[in-house]
Amino acid sequence: MTETKVNSEKLIGAQIFLECLRKEGVDKIFGYPGGVILSIYEALYSCDFIKHYLVRHEQAAVHAAEGYARATGKVGVALVTSGPGATNTVTGIANAYYDGYPIVVFTGQVGSNQIGNDAFQEADIIGITRSCCKHNYLVKDVKELPRVIKEAFHIASTGKPGPVVVDMPKDVLCAKSSFEYPETIKLPGYNPNYNGHPKQISKALELLCEAERPLILAGGGIVASAAMNELKLLSEKLNVPVTNTLMAKGVFPEDNDFSLGMLGMHGNFWANHAISSCDVLFAIGTRFNDRITGCLKRFAKDAQIIHVDIDPCSINKNVKVDIPIIGDAKNVMTAMLEEFDSNNYEIHFDVKQSWREQIGEWKKKRPVFEHPSEKLSAITVIKKVYEYAKNSDPIICTEVGQHQMWAAQLMKFNKPRKFITSGGLGTMGFGFPAAIGAAVGTDNGLVINIAGDGSIQMNIQELATCVQYNLPVINIIINNGYLGMVRQWQEKLFNKHYSQTKISGPDFVKVAQAYGARGYRVTKEEEIIPVLQEAIECREPVFIDCVVEECEMVYPWVLAGDPLNKVILSNE
């Protein structure tokens, strides 16, 4: 610490705010100005250490901050004004909360003396966001601002990461104070437990070694704790195959023999069968969301379940577990590996061999690729995009719906933070702004957003942001003229009553051009690669409107509430 700790010169709250961000190492933020935070924008005007990205809707600022956080592992920051600016952030905050990514959302608030008086652009954002963020603060005194901001970044990025909201009244931002950034944090009510209980760890290890049909279920917690190496070692040493959740794509190389890929509602046939038949399930960093468990009663019904999670609330919430371990994925697995190496645990490779063979049998069962008409198939588009782009190490973002599931099924990753998708909340309109955040976070690396024609229209205005900062985000719009996933449910479960799911859209090529971006239309298979090649090479924001077959369905498919091994593989 060579910097002088106390700056005798007094600063106003808005300047203190920026100094705090600097102390936290923040150099890029996403935001939208407004009345009560004008003092911050005044301070930003002459600020050379923070680059502000002006979005076109506050929801997008928060999604972009989350996309930035997901791509970089750093805390994403969004800055918005009071009232509608603040309420527009709610979806973004909830999204980051469900998927557990660290962001800090700064909202302006009306002056302290006006709070509660229904002032212009007043909203009780603290009350509104209480149930969808990890923590929130209303700053009442400029002297508290540095402490609150330090705590906010700490809470957002530690334990199970998540969003923190800091609400800053106008007068606090204008009040003067000397700036001193606290060096320590005192939060007696917040002590995430990083190290698993040694006894539980031994028990878990023993169980896994003795198992005949063991399986590892890898969740998003492994991304947060960067435990990919430990996971791989554990899988290899104990001879245990690995299946992953949507949030954990890439934590275990999907081309590895031990990988079963994604499980769940639209997961692999073999992964769902393996989890239904395993005798020991080692689950790490997952909440056991209903989209991966199917019918709870039948989920891993023969298995003893070991569950590692840093959030005690995740344990025994949905699935009853036999060995709970509260701790950080990396620490727990490291402890297991150390214990395994230092004691003579025996692995009966021959016992597990028949399990491997069984999984091999299941792996032969794949959904039949039915090409229903002459029109372009969405599956073909996504396959081709993946095959062409995979060697350029792209970040793939998605919106929510059929295209999201196809992307998750067809695109394989061998490292995390490369597949950015809204899992828990299932937010249409997430992918495009998240892709913007990812592009900003990776200094304009290759970012491709796989979108639907429904989803893209939920935050289509962000194309202006892309153009303004020349962010080369490529949007592949899987355009089938329907809200495809809902349509799929209606086809199967509601007698083909396509109620309100046929959705029209604009001419996406013209929209792109109107915004000053590039637009392409693809209607034939052979056009995909040349267009994509041009899109990647031009280094500009791009819309590629892929007009595809309407009726394609996502398979495998486990109907909501069905057990995981009741997999539908085709229209039959």
Binding site: G127, S131, H135, L187, D311, I315, N316
Partner: protein, 170 residues
């Protein structure tokens, strides 16, 4: 009948803290039978006592975990899990007809209740007791005619020394 759980929560005394806790209950579908909140002996800390009903062991486990997850929550104790004493205070305005007055006084005496206000038509009783005592008292007063009943909600304290001060958590 499943007994209610009384959960004692030590929190940092800050604006909105009751709302943070009660919002958690409503948002996750847990029942609140009663809730009381007040400062503790140490400045800056408050104790919130929540009585919850209808939850099996799994629900109670989730409730305690979810409460613990809140940042300003320092300590959560399910008083059912430990040796503890629970009390509730009630104020009860009873219709006092001439022929009932001596009966009211007798009931008050048995339950150690005080008459804290008298009007030509009513007696107001103040009583403190555990759940069973309070229930019996109300059952006895009901046929006489309760005009108004105000209950404090339960408060509780552990008998052992395990949950005495904020110092243990810092």
């Amino acid at each position: 009948m499943r007994k209610n759980h009384v959960i004692s929560v030590l929190v940092k005394d800050e604006a909105g803290i009751v709302s943070r806790l009660s919002g958690l209950f409503s948002g996750r579908g847990y029942n609140i039978e009663s809730i009381t909140a007040a400062q503790t002996s140490e400045k800056g800390y408050a104790r919130i006592t929540i009585e919850t009903s209808g939850g099996d062991a799994d629900v109670i486990e989730q409730i305690t975990k979810q409460l613990n997850r809140l940042i300003p929550v320092l300590k959560v104790v399910d008083l059912r899990d430990v040796e503890s004493i629970e009390r509730e205070l009630i104020l009860c305005k009873v219709i006092a007809k001439d022929e009932d007055r001596s009966e009211i006084l007798r009931i008050a005496e048995i339950f150690g209740a005080k008459i804290i206000d008298v009007t030509p038509r009513t007696y107001t009783l103040q009583a403190v007791g555990d759940e069973r005592q309070i229930r019996s008292l109300i059952e006895l007063l009901r046929p006489i005619g309760i005009r108004e009943l105000v209950r404090s909600g339960k408060v509780g304290i552990t008998r052992a020394n395990q949950f005495s001060s904020t110092k243990t958590v810092e």
